[in-house]
Structures are given as C-alpha cells and as structure tokens.
C-alpha cells in the first residue's frame, strides 16, 4: 500500500524539525560534494597539464632549503640555478636540448611568470597553446603572453601594459580559456626575462630533452650526483608526487565528509526517534485499526527517504553554485573544482543510504508500539 501522502503530511506537521534535519543533511552532503569537487578538479588539472609535456622531459630545480622561505611573510623564492650549472648540464651525455626558465611569482598573486626561449615552448608543453587575441613575441621582442585567468586578474588585454618586478611590461597576446594550469601563467622570451628580473644567464628551473627516452634515468642520476643542490624529475615523477598529494587530499576530504555525515545521521535518528515517541498513540491507533507492522515501518522509512532525497538534491544544487562561484568568480575560469557525475551520484546515493540506515532504528521502535498502550482512555 502506498501511504507516501501520510509520510509527507507528518513531515509538514512538524515543519521546523523537518527543516532542521534537512539542513543537517544539506551541510554534510554539501561538504562531501564541495570538498570532493576540489580533489577531483586538482587531480584533473594536474593530469591535463602533465599530458601536454613529453613523458621523457626532465625538469631540474634547486633542491628545497629553508633559505627559500626567507623574505617577507608569504613570499617564496624559487632557488636560482647559476649560468655555470646550466652550462655543465648541457655537457651531460645524452642531453639533446636544455631550456633554462626564469620562474617568478608575480607579486602576491596566484600564478607564475615564466621566461623561456620561444623555440623551446614545446618542452614546456605550450607549443600549441592557442591565442584568443594578439600574438607570441619573438625571442628578441619585449612582451608577454598571458593565460586567460592571469589576464582576468590583471584586467589586461593585448596592447595593455602590466607591472612585473616594478617594470612596465607590454601584453602581446592572451591565450584561449580552459588551458588548465596555463590559464594562470604569464610567458615571455628568456632574454626579456633576464632583463626584467636581472638574472643574466641564470634560471629557476631547467627543462631537459634527452636524445632518447632510454637516457632519462642516466641523465637524472648524473645531474643529482654532480650537483648536490639540484633535483631532477620527469613529468611522470612529478605526476606521481602530485597524485600522492591529491590522494592525501582525497582522504582528508572523505574524512571531513564522513564526520559531517555522522553528525547529520545522528540528527536524523534524533528527529525520527522523537517523532516516533511523540506519535506513539497515533501509531498505536493505526495498528488498532488494522495496519501491518510493515506498513508502519515503511511510513517511517519513507519519511527518512523524503528528508534525504530533498536534502541531497538541495546539496547538489548548492554545490554546483559554490563550484561555479569558486571557478568563475574567484578564480576567473580555472576549473579548480569539478563535480564529476560519479561524485554527484555517489554523494546523493550516500546521503540516501545513510538516512535509510539511520531511520531503521526509529522505525523498529515504531513497530514495537503496543496498540493497547496507545488507546488506553484519557
């Protein structure tokens, strides 16, 4: 028998309690979807930028040491690799190309400035980066190409000037949107970078192309043996490290979601249990006039189901809103958070299953109600 209308009536009868319970579910499921979407987004961002660079390409940076943390709070100096070191890297056997890159953080902003030889853009994964306006500078020109998000943050179009390291820099071109981590970059010719940042012949990172993929490990080993202060990594190594950190992020996210959902679950038990106790008499009457135990059980479970489906769907809507706000308004188009169908479906299913589980005990209490207790006079 379908008594869904009775379940709805009962929830309406106790509107405040119903709304508070749904609110608990919304907080839990929204936490899971929102945090999960950031994990998923970061993961996709890492994987998509990695795929643009050859798997044999080796990235060399200064080994991290505490001196890099010096300077004003919040600043982070990427270590400088000297001109001599760069020269010695060129002489390692099996190395076909060496591209020094000057990498700087533009002020306090989220993103990166990279100065690289325009002929080496392919090693950087930016060779086929399409521009939506303007053009790429030649190696001897003085100008930059900006990722769409970086341009948005600076409010710059091609032809405008922006300030980098207290110097006026002309914007030659703006890249198309949706290019992953490139959206946050400002790219300029290496020679221009040397001038702007006063780093003649130096670099913050170096990209090395081996003559053959079979040389990769040997080159990496040689670099690290000859230069204690340098660290060599392929994109595969980097991806592995990044994925390990996203895995940690995932566990962290799931942990918070789990705790939030337990709290919401206890809220559901309390609501349903109180509701059952309050309705002892009513449930007794239903039994007295011939309701089966399963009819009573079903009604309580249906009430739980209504709460959870409503709560989960509202959470989904709120999460889409938050993710849109984060990606498009706060970050100007970088998809740092992504709600995948699996995440959306999984979170809603989790919310519903959880509520059903937490409704079982109150429903069980309900069917144990003795009709005689309920109908006793006065």
């Amino acid at each position: 028998m379908n008594m869904l209308d009775l379940a709805i009536k009962d929830l309406k009868e106790h509107r405040v309690r119903t709304i508070l319970t749904v609110l608990g579910i919304i907080i839990a499921i929204t936490a899971i979807i929102s945090l999960g979407s950031i994990s998923a987004g970061v993961n996709e961002l890492i994987t998509s930028s990695g795929s643009k660079v050859g798997s044999s390409t080796i990235f060399v940076t200064k080994r991290f040491d505490m001196s890099m943390m010096s300077g004003p709070p919040g600043s982070f100096n990427i270590g400088t690799i000297s001109a001599d070191e760069i020269e010695s890297l060129r002489s390692i056997a099996g190395v076909s190309r060496v591209a020094p890159i000057i990498s700087k953080i533009p002020g306090s902003m989220f993103g990166e400035v990279d100065a690289i030889d325009m002929n080496d853009l392919d090693l950087f994964g930016a060779a086929d980066l399409a521009l939506k306006e303007g053009y790429w500078p030649d190696n001897d020109e003085q100008g930059v190409v900006m990722g769409s998000v970086a341009a948005g943050i600076f409010g710059a179009s091609s032809g405008d000037f922006i300030t980098l390291n207290n110097k006026q820099v002309e914007v030659f071109g703006i890249a198309e949107e949706g290019q992953g981590s490139f959206d946050l970059l400002i790219v300029m010719p290496y020679a221009y970078g040397e001038d702007i940042y006063d780093m003649q012949g130096e670099a913050n990172q170096i990209v090395i192309e081996p003559a053959d993929i079979s040389f990769v490990d040997e080159i990496k080993n040689t670099i690290e043996e000859e230069h204690d202060d340098l660290m060599a990594m392929t994109i595969a190594d980097a991806l592995k490290t990044a994925q390990q950190s996203t895995a940690t992020l995932n566990i962290f996210t799931l942990g918070i979601g789990f705790v939030a959902s337990l709290v919401a679950g206890i809220g559901i038990i309390i609501t349903m249990y109180t509701s059952v106790l309050e309705r002892r008499r009513e449930i007794g009457i239903l039994k007295a006039v011939g309701a089966f135990r399963r009819t009573i059980f079903k009604q309580i479970i249906e009430e739980g189901l209504i709460l959870s489906v409503t709560g989960s769907l509202i959470s989904l809507a709120i999460s889409f809103f938050f993710v849109d706000l984060l990606n498009n308004v706060l970050l100007g188009g970088t998809k740092i958070a992504v709600i995948t169908p699996l995440l959306a479906g999984g979170a809603v299913a989790y919310g519903v299953i959880l509520t059903l589980l937490f409704s079982v005990y109150p429903a069980w209490v309900a069917i144990k109600t003795d009709p005689i207790d309920a109908i006793r006079k006065g």
Binding site: M1, M3, D5, L6, K9, D10, E13, R281, E282, I285, L286, K287, A288, V289, G290, A291, F292, R293, R294, T295, P371, I372, A374, I375, K377, G378
Partner: protein, 238 residues
C-alpha cells in the same frame, strides 16, 4: 442454532509486575452469536477493558482460547491479528482515537487503505459513510476542529468502512454530555438494529447495559452474571 462469532474458552490474562502476579481475567467462558447485541458491564478495575482488548484481538490471553468466527486467534502474531481486526472488527473508543493530523475523510479512509484500496476508492466510501453519520459538512475538518460528538461520529464511520461483522464500542459515550451521548448511543445501536451487525458495548452504566440482548456482568476478572433478554427495550434509533 445461531453461528457463534466470538468465543472465549477458559481465558486467563495474568500480568507480572515485579514478581507480583495480577489476574486481570480468571477463566472467562463466553459465547457471542452473530448478529447479537451484547453489553459487558462492570465497575472500573473489574477487567472489562482487558476483556474487550482480547475480544477485539488487540491482545492475546495468557491461557485459554479465543475463537473469532471459529478461528483460533490466541496464538496469532501481530500482523495476523491486525488482519483480523481490519476485516472483522470495527472499533469505537471512548477517546475517539482519531489521527490528529488527518481530516475526517482521511481518518475514515485509513482502514480501507490498509486493505490495499487506492485513495480515490477509499475516499469515495468514506464520504458516503460520513454522510450517513450526519457529517456531510465536516468532511475536511480535522479532529481539533470538531466537537466530541462529531469526532465520535467520524470514529463510527471509520469503524464501518471495511464492513466488519462485529462492532466493538468501549464506553462510546463516556466523554460526551448527556444529550450528545444519547444521540451517539442511538447511532451505535442502530448499527445493530438496521444493519444486523454484532454489537458489543463495554460500559459501566447499568441502564445502557440493560438495552442489550445479552448482558455480561464482570467483577474481579470473572463473569458474575449473564442475562439474556428477547428483544431490547426502547430502540428509538429505528
């Protein structure tokens, strides 16, 4: 020989509270024929409520047998008893026992919906019954918007919706003023006189009990007197 619709054979009900045994019913033997009008009468604490719970299949005896239309219900489980109550017995309680969140039609329709009928069919029949008990203008009122007499009329309509053979009325006028009580009592009685249903009334009012064909007096959990009358006095409800 009339068909026996309710029979109790040496029925005992013993409650155990902190090692103290209370015998609410002590070896009750009782037969009620189909189409009969019976009254169970006794002072409070006599065991008449316990007896009515057992007759109404709301409770099972500690010892003895209960037969409804020849079927032994004393060993039945909750759901089997619920099915018997739903099909065979219509209850009218002293405190009306309506569901407060539901309006008159919804309350009356409930037992029929438990039987698997859709909302439409159940509401149609509920409406007809509410007209019969004189509540055509109160169909969508909730219990707290109705007088005691009106609520009891809703309860009577609810008792009738599954067309049970037995109507069990437990002090049906106990919460009502004299005038309304008389009207309700006549309405309940008319279920017997007009539709020949088996009517069992539980009351402490000897005057009311004397209107029944079969009067069963109970005291301290035992039947202390059983009187049979041919025809009943003053059935103005006709």
């Amino acid at each position: 020989m009339k068909r026996i619709i309710l029979e109790l054979r040496d029925v005992w009900k013993i409650y155990c509270m902190k090692d103290v045994e209370t015998n609410a019913l002590r070896g009750i033997n009782l037969k009620i024929a189909a189409g009969e009008y019976a009254a169970i009468v006794g002072p409070s604490g006599s065991g008449k409520s316990t007896l009515m719970h057992i007759l109404g299949c709301l409770d099972t005896p500690t010892k003895g047998k209960v037969l409804v239309d020849g079927r032994d219900v004393s060993e039945m489980n909750d759901d089997q008893l619920a099915l018997i109550r739903r099909k065979k017995i219509g209850f009218v309680f002293q405190a009306y026992n309506l569901i407060t969140s539901l309006n008159a039609i919804e309350n009356v329709a409930l037992p029929m919906r438990f039987s698997g009928y859709g909302k439409g069919e159940a509401f149609k029949k509920a409406r007809e019954l509410l007209i019969k008990v004189g509540l055509e203008k109160r169909m969508s009122h909730k219990p707290n918007e109705m007088s005691g007499g009106e609520q009891q009329r809703v309860a009577i309509a609810r008792a009738l919706i599954n067309e049970p053979e037995i109507i069990l009325a437990d002090e049906p006028t106990g919460n009502l003023d004299t005038k309304t009580g008389k009207e309700i009592f006549e309405l309940v009685e008319s279920l017997h006189t007009k539709t020949k249903k088996t009517l069992i009334i539980v009351t402490h009012d000897l005057n009311l009990a004397q209107r029944a064909h079969q009067e069963i007096r109970i005291k301290d959990g035992e039947i202390v007197g059983e009187y049979a009358r041919s025809g009943h006095k003053g059935s103005e409800g006709a």
